[in-house]
Symmetry: D2
Subunit: 313 residues, 4 copies
């Protein structure tokens, strides 16, 4: 595994560095997100901090929800690590966070920092899982995959199992039963992850699990939320005679399929489509919608706000 | 009015004829839709009938819902009216309808037949109404507009009223009150129409009215049905934190916002959008979605089937 | 005219103010664009300037072309005009412009500043012109229209002429002839405008005219530049058997159809489309593409860079 | 190989049969395309032929190019093979072909007929090749892959080579050199194929090769033809400052990048994109555009007409 992921990871960084240096030579790219009470002059202080270390701002996105006094920002900048070492950069932003009593202040330097570690939970259907693995293999998903967990077994010769073996990614099968959701085992397995991805995982995670894990969980729902919550949304959509079907990636909360929406995608359907083609078109949307959400999340573009909304910078 | 609409109408036909003759010279275009119990050989008989009169088929779309024995078809063909007079064409298809005990058999020859007559019902908001009028004026909507009915008055100098006066289209204001929906007056005013268009008409038409009118009624809903039924769907969508908003044109049935869907359109929204911009984006969708539905309907492309679905050929 | 445009203008501002104040109460919205040699700390200084007057930054977009040392930015902020008067705001940014020896520094306060004044040049075809007029009437285009100029006459009872009369917008017909392009007359008529819009104007403006006018000119081309330059792009596309047709709005330069592209839009075509429907689909794209370009331009989102490119923030 | 492809193939058929039988129980699906001089009554005869054997027509698409007397059609129908055996079906349509002196008449019964055999030619870049292989593995591409041919070597441990080994698909490396295009070797290797796919194959196939092979060749071009022909279209587009980039799949003819277009797709680009991201976005389009063209081709939806156009039913 080390081999495989190291290879992927290093060449990804080369790619990133290359892509980026193409715009500003020896520099590295930094991303900073910030959430604090809204007062005047936050952007001024942030950009002054970056400039004072010779950093160059590429964009600053700011969002202040209507009639709320909360400030959200995302800044992208380039800097010379020899002039602004990673740890100094960290402490400089910490100082600002303190000064503005920020609720959140996160920095990432994709070319330097370790990639996010995730675990993927799936059930019987493989299409989202396989798609994630292929994108990860093509170095389109900047994550390390700690393990795959499913409540359904896979035959040893299936594509997924063979793929995981080749790349040294552990596969854990934790069958569920009434009263036995195996959440404790899952918790142990995902302890070391940065966030979780539910790739068509058909179990409802308990509030206890969500609290115990305490980090973000991204789910893909094969319907255009808030319509078609719960089971078999494709059939629900088919019977409603809709002309557009969709998929929704969102954060997991205790309330089923009601967490903050990150991304939604749609495709046309017509009277020529039957339930089978509804499902096929939906699967295609789910793959894109889920990987898009993961990408945006890793780029620090996604910030939940209020109970049910997200900022997607 | 005569003047205005005659002008529109005749030049529309010239346009139609021109557009069409450009593909097959002196011929006219015929459209035929058919609904009957599914048996073998229907298309064969239909096309044989057209061919026997020197007609040339351009396309035949057939639809048989899964596990139902109902046949739907739409044929487009060109024919020489001197060789196949309009009335003979009619009776030829009638004979086939009888032979297949068809539930429906409709022919239209847009270059010859009178245009559909409609009435448009609106309430306070004008954007859909104004858009329909402009498209009608630009000869993009192949209908004659008998009258506009609203339950809200308009000041004499408003764009709508001045437009209607210029084009001789009557405007009827029928204010509603608790227990007084003015449906009898409406019925009288729309007696002579082929179908009705609800352009953001905020009253619920009673089952009695629907039965008494007995023809199709097309409504635009400013939400992506089946989500966000009823009042203020834009606010509902805004509060749900969706990333896509939509509009839905559908046939009116007794159950609110649950009639067969004809067309749906969506647009992206983001955290930057506030309720005001949700509404503006929605209005833009409503206009396109409603006029698209009317166009398809006039081209005999829209056939309702089962209780909640439509074929849109 | 005064009446009409004043009405449009004032209610537009009310709308703007309303839309905006909904996010930050009594404040007005300011837009600032900046172009100068790239050095460290520009954003810091800009935001510090805004913050020092109690202004609140909503977004800052920055762009530095690869391997060029030129800095482009666009900032949106809200401010209290009682605390930061319009003229002080102007001079504050002037000082910064001087300090960074900026090539360009423009401020706009849509709720306070006079709207941009434009003239529209057209030839025989009216679809783009009519669409602009309707959008202007619906207060979707934040401009004042000084006059319409065409090298083709219009009959007095045409929709366009009647519309212009109702709204008091002068129409000037300047027929062209070999060796007589009437550019001097045009120059006089557009002297007082902020920029020009060519709404399917089929004459090539001379380099002399461009120099003499000296301000921006936005053109709509009914093809997907750089393909299908020059005459009859729809026929060119039709004969090339493309599956997508497009429209392009761009700045006018001396080289025909080679100016910096602002916006492009496409639509699917198929073997079923004939030249007539190519043209109809194209006209629909041209309208959206041209008005989108004008809107972005008025919002200070469009900055040309290098010889053939644009930043569209 | 046999194993792998047999598995893919049989389960694909089960899928197809399932998907289809879901609409009309024990029946199989037939597809028929026809090209002949346009006369009255062709559709009548075709549908009569199908009906006479108890076949049920699902759709008939007809196309007659303007001012040409050529008739193209594609029919989809279901039939009971016990009542209408495959070989009788064949000869029945042959009889019609003769009767209408058809230039082309092809039948396919996807659930019965062997899948199309293809060879894929590639050069250095793998993205289109890898995508085809993954889609084939996921049973989204109804073809058998005879072999992969490249003019560039691959290291043994690359994803492609390992994939091909696992699935028993031969890989042939035929390096080219000035005056040595290895077309004879290629011809031998592809002798047994039904059509060829050029997945970013950077060699120009000679007219001699095209004639000798004599079957269809589908190419993907990473630009929106007819613009950006030839080398490095992404750079051409980048320097032209376009706001939309595209990909084009087309048939190969002797004239470079000028064969009939099958499918085109576009994506937005902005000033934020550099050449690297232009290429990444383009690669994503190329994959979808090429596989879509292959799918349509296998479904008998694609018919070239005139010198540069295609019907895509």
């Amino acid at each position: 595994m080390v081999g495989a992921q190291a290879r992927a990871s290093s060449s990804l960084r080369r790619a990133a560095a290359r892509a980026f240096s193409s715009s500003t030579s020896p520099f590295f790219r930094g991303i900073h997100v910030f959430k604090c009470p809204d007062v005047v002059g936050i952007v001024a202080k942030l950009s002054e901090c970056i400039a004072s270390k010779g950093g160059n701002i590429h964009c600053v996105d700011v969002f202040v929800p209507e009639n709320k006094q909360i400030f959200y920002s995302r800044s992208e900048f380039s800097f010379d690590p020899s002039r602004w070492p990673r740890d100094v950069l960290e402490s400089d932003f910490q100082r600002l966070a303190k000064h503005f009593s920020a609720e959140r202040s996160t920095v990432r330097v994709p070319d330097l920092d370790p990639r996010y570690k995730i675990a993927v939970l799936a059930s019987k259907q493989d299409h989202c899982l396989v798609d994630l693995l292929h994108r990860w293999q093509d170095q389109r998903l900047p994550v390390d995959i700690n393990c795959i967990i499913s409540n359904h077994p896979r035959a040893p010769n299936t594509h997924v199992i063979r793929f995981l073996e080749r790349h040294g990614i552990p596969f854990h099968c934790l069958p569920t039963a009434p009263g036995k959701k195996g959440e404790e085992e899952i918790l142990k397995l995902v302890e070391d992850t940065d966030f979780l991805v539910l790739a068509r995982y058909m179990q409802i995670l308990s509030g206890g699990f969500l609290q115990a894990y305490g980090k973000d969980i991204i789910n893909i729902h094969h319907g255009l939320l808030p319509s078609f919550k719960g089971g078999n949304p494709s059939r629900q959509a088919f019977e409603a005679g809709v002309k557009l079907i969709g998929a929704t990636s969102h954060f997991v909360t205790e309330e089923l399929d009601a967490g903050p929406i990150i991304e939604q995608m749609v495709e046309r359907v017509s009277h020529k489509d039957n339930l089978t083609s509804f499902v096929m078109k939906s699967e295609n949307l789910e793959k894109q919608c889920l990987s898009q959400a993961i990408k945006s999340y890793c780029e620090l573009r996604v910030l939940p706000y209020e109970s049910r909304k997200t900022v997607v910078f």
